[in-house]
């Protein structure tokens, strides 16, 4: 068992623990903190995979910006403990097995499909930020410009939605 495998299992355990904690916590703020744990663990996994830039973006944008937005809204709305409402019996007894079955199905499909991949193991060497930016600003220049437009629309939408009506 080599070092990278051990690191993988530790980070995977942390990620799954965070995800389960997100489900079990009753207070939204605790769920948000659990989600931050998942995101930091995933950033570690990206580093392990050799995607250094994506790892940095994951920490800065996801762990930083988006989760701060979530925590901000939770505190703004003073979101307390969530109230329990009755589930239909179908949701309780059918929902969990079906979700697990779906996870198993996706895992099986993904795992089987990797049989056709040329390389079974990730390279592990870092994808340089230069390679990534060349790709982003040459081959994906048009989608990149579109995302700036999307963000503009999102800003306008958020302002229109959140403003107080007179």
């Amino acid at each position: 068992m080599n070092a990278s495998l051990i690191i993988f299992f530790v980070l995977a355990a942390v990620a799954i623990f965070g995800a389960v904690s997100l489900i079990l916590q009753r207070e939204p703020i605790h769920s948000a903190l659990s989600l931050i744990v998942v995101m930091v663990a995933l950033a570690g996994l990206y580093l392990l995979l050799g995607a250094e830039f994506v790892a940095a973006v994951q920490i800065i944008v996801y762990g930083g910006a988006i989760m701060v937005l979530f925590v901000f809204v939770i505190m703004l709305l003073n979101a307390g403990e969530e109230e329990r409402t009755d589930f239909s019996k179908l949701a309780t007894f059918g929902g969990i097995p079906l979700a697990l079955a779906l996870a198993g199905l996706i895992a099986a499909a993904l795992t089987r499909s990797t049989g056709y991949l040329p390389a079974a193991a990730p390279h592990g060497d870092l994808t340089s930020t230069k390679t990534l930016s060349m790709l982003l600003f040459k081959d994906f220049a048009y989608p990149f410009e579109l995302t700036s437009f999307l963000i503009l629309v999102a800003i306008l939408g958020a302002i229109v939605l959140a403003q107080r009506e007179n």
């Binding site: 995800a19 769920s31 995979l49 994506v54 969530e82 939408g157 959140a162």
Partner: protein
Amino acid sequence: MVPTNYYLILSAILFGLGIVAFVFKRNIITLFMAIELMLNAVNLAFVAFSQSLGKPDGEVFVLFVIVVAAAEAAVGLGIIILTARNRRSLNIERVDLMKL
């Protein structure tokens, strides 16, 4: 070296947990967090495939997913604030305006 399969299985597990959270949580903000969890699971599969195939295209896709998630979070949280103001509750069961 960690086999690509391990990453994909972890991705599927996280996606499944995201679905469970989405179905079982009752707070609108937590539902949004479940969606973010599912997006993260997909991102992990993207990066794993990208490294396994030796093509950086998948990582560019992840950057796009993160941008769209940020935009979605901004608009979604705006909707949540609006809903909380109108309904005086964050329970998803109370948001039944369009229910027949």
